[in-house]
């Protein structure tokens, strides 16, 4: 085919020397038409026809099979039953659809005419006459409306058009901007005296009940009705805490400031929201006291003030100051001393 593709045979166009390059590459044109086996051999033509018929027949069988599967393989409520029904329906449906698709494409490729046609693109711009007529129509329309002479009418129309978009723009913008109160990120539900409770049951936690090596997922104790509310979901997302009990001699440091004790007898409580991008950090390894974030592998040392020992997080997890009340239940001394979670603008620290 190369003699058809290259209009100047014998001329090597791949050389790098500029002197030998042709002045201008010309359109090589369409390669010569090559006859297919089905164009020349009637037996091959019949064979391909039969193949297309067979593919359509397979598709028909798939469709019938799908109906049969729908009635014969009913999901019986068990996991296997549902799975079997889904697979039977899916496979038969796929056979039916693929049969149609493959048959149609094989039909067009092997039996339909495959002669190349060239359709030249027309000029993008319309002819000068058409353009002149269009401009004339517009000018006539403006003339007819009299917008240049009737000033009040023009003002009214422009006002109406300008005001209409406000009917959706104002509610849209206002609902986007209605909740820019970022001060709520600084505070959580924890306050002085709030009991620590197990997530998700809400049972308060007694310090004596925690075995050394325990990890507990903690929420603030709130009334049952509040737990049903929508607000609880957002508040819980900020307030979740991971509580662990270490051997007191293993606890090297915590975040207590001078003169205060934020942990209780080896029990420490840290925010569960990663300081990197806010995933719940919860993979606690009891022997190394490391807490691993599942999203980006930030690792915090629970025995050492939740300092970052690995990963992209930049700050330790904020500590929840805890102590016990008269009945031995764990309570918060106060809210977290700093905002929980990842950085945001105007953050204190």
């Amino acid at each position: 085919m190369s003699e058809n593709q290259n209009p100047t045979p014998g001329r090597d166009v791949t050389t790098t020397s500029g002197a030998q390059d042709p002045e201008r590459f010309t359109d090589p044109g369409v390669p010569a038409h090559k006859l297919r086996l089905t164009d020349t051999d009637p037996a091959a033509r019949r064979r391909n026809e039969r193949l297309v018929v067979l593919l359509f027949a397979i598709s028909c069988l798939g469709a019938i099979g799908s109906i049969v599967a729908y009635f014969a393989v009913r999901p019986d409520g068990t996991t296997e039953g549902v799975r079997l029904s889904t697979i039977a329906l899916g496979v038969t449906m796929a056979i039916s659809l693929l049969g149609i698709g493959i048959a149609a494409i094989h039909w067009s490729k092997s039996l339909m005419s495959d002669h190349e046609h060239v359709d030249e693109r027309h000029e993008l711009a319309s002819s000068p006459e058409v353009r002149e007529v269009a401009v004339q129509h517009l000018t006539d329309g403006v003339e007819d409306s009299g917008i240049a002479r009737r000033g009040v009418l023009k003002g009214a129309a422009v006002s109406a058009l300008a005001l209409f978009p406000l009917t959706f723009a104002v509610p849209l913008i206002s609902s986007v901007g209605g909740d820019w109160n970022i001060s709520k990120f600084r505070h959580t539900l924890w306050e002085r005296g709030t009991r620590l409770a197990y997530d998700p049951t809400g049972r308060p936690i007694r310090a004596a009940d925690l075995t050394v090596g325990s990890a507990a997922h903690v929420i603030p104790e709130v009334p049952q009705e509040y737990m049903e509310s929508h607000e609880w979901i957002t508040e819980k997302a900020k307030a979740v805490v991971l509580l662990v009990r270490l051997n007191p001699e293993d606890l090297r440091s915590d975040q207590s400031p001078e003169g205060e004790t934020w942990s209780y007898d080896g029990i420490v409580a840290y925010s569960k929201i990663c300081t990197h991008v806010g995933c719940p950090v919860a993979l606690y390894e009891q022997q190394t006291h490391h807490l691993l974030c599942p999203c980006h592998q930030s690792t915090f040392d629970m025995a050492d003030g939740a300092k970052v020992v690995f990963g992209p997080a930049n700050r330790p997890l904020p500590q929840l100051p805890i102590t016990v009340d008269d009945e031995g239940y764990l309570i918060a001394q106060d809210d977290f001393a700093e905002p929980v979670g990842p950085s945001f603008w105007e953050r204190l620290k």
Binding site: T79, P200, D209, T211, V244, A282, L292, Q297
Partner: protein, 260 residues
């Protein structure tokens, strides 16, 4: 007596005598035969003694002659029978080699030896006991509540359906599909290796059974079809990018190719 003596030559006498002898032997055997060891039998002093011997031979090198712990291995005083039963019956202990984590392997001790070791360690200090069959019976549990608890407490390491996952520095959370109900319960109760403890105040015995019920349900696989290991975006992504896109590219090439 005379009547009995008179009939001693009766034709049926040997048969009657034989039956009586069989009954007697059977009765004596039933009374005196040793009963087979069961998991819930109370440990005897003999078990503790035998367990001590096994401990000295298999465990004392690392855990110390009195199970007081060494620089290599923790003290076993007060870990309880549940902990020993978990570690030994899953083959994790005796440990084969030092590594980030003791892997599960075919158990080295028989059930009887495991029970003796557990009795010995339990005699050293009070600790959680081996749960009863009723406590670990998933059929009694509420799988829906179990799912709630599993999501909060377990899924971050063990995967949402218990397929397991990686931890730091070569450690891992094992898959839970093959783990026996008793071992699942014991793991929560005792917190083996990297796993934290979830004692009965944190997750009550009923709630532990709910979690077991949930895990048993996951063993049926997914109703949607292939689970691809339930590993999330990694295996599903490989499937979609390699198999799915490969098929599409193949179809596009076939559609575009000229017929010969």
């Amino acid at each position: 007596m005379k009547a009995l003596a008179a009939r001693r030559h009766h034709r049926a006498a040997p048969v009657v005598l034989m039956l009586l002898a069989l009954l007697l032997t059977g009765g004596v055997y039933a009374v005196l035969a040793p009963s087979p060891a069961t998991a819930d039998t109370a440990s005897t002093a003999n078990d503790v003694e035998e367990g001590d011997r096994l401990f000295q031979a298999n465990c004392a090198t690392c855990h110390g002659p009195n199970a007081e712990g060494t620089s290599q291995a923790p003290s076993l005083v007060g870990v309880g029978a549940a902990s020993v039963d978990f570690q030994v019956s899953t083959g994790r202990m005796p440990m084969q080699a030092n590594g980030p984590q003791a892997p599960q392997k075919p158990p080295q001790m028989t059930e009887e030896q495991t029970a003796q070791l557990a009795a010995y360690v339990a005699s050293l200090g009070a600790g959680p006991a081996i749960p009863t069959d009723e406590q670990v019976d998933g059929a009694e549990g509420d799988a829906s509540n179990g799912a709630l608890l599993f999501r909060t407490n377990c899924a971050m390491c063990h995967n949402a359906v218990g397929a397991g996952g990686a931890l730091s520095e070569g450690k891992w959370a094992p898959p839970l599909y093959e783990v026996s109900e008793r071992n699942i319960y014991q793991a929560m109760l005792t917190g083996p290796q990297s796993m934290p403890v979830f004692n009965d105040a944190n997750i009550t015995p009923d709630e532990k059974r709910d979690i077991i019920a949930y895990l048993l349900e996951q063993r049926d696989g997914s109703a949607g079809g292939l689970t691809l290991g339930s590993l999330g975006p990694v295996s599903e992504g490989v499937w979609a990018w390699v198999v799915g896109l490969g098929l599409m590219i193949g179809a596009a090439v076939w559609i575009g190719a000229k017929s010969s």
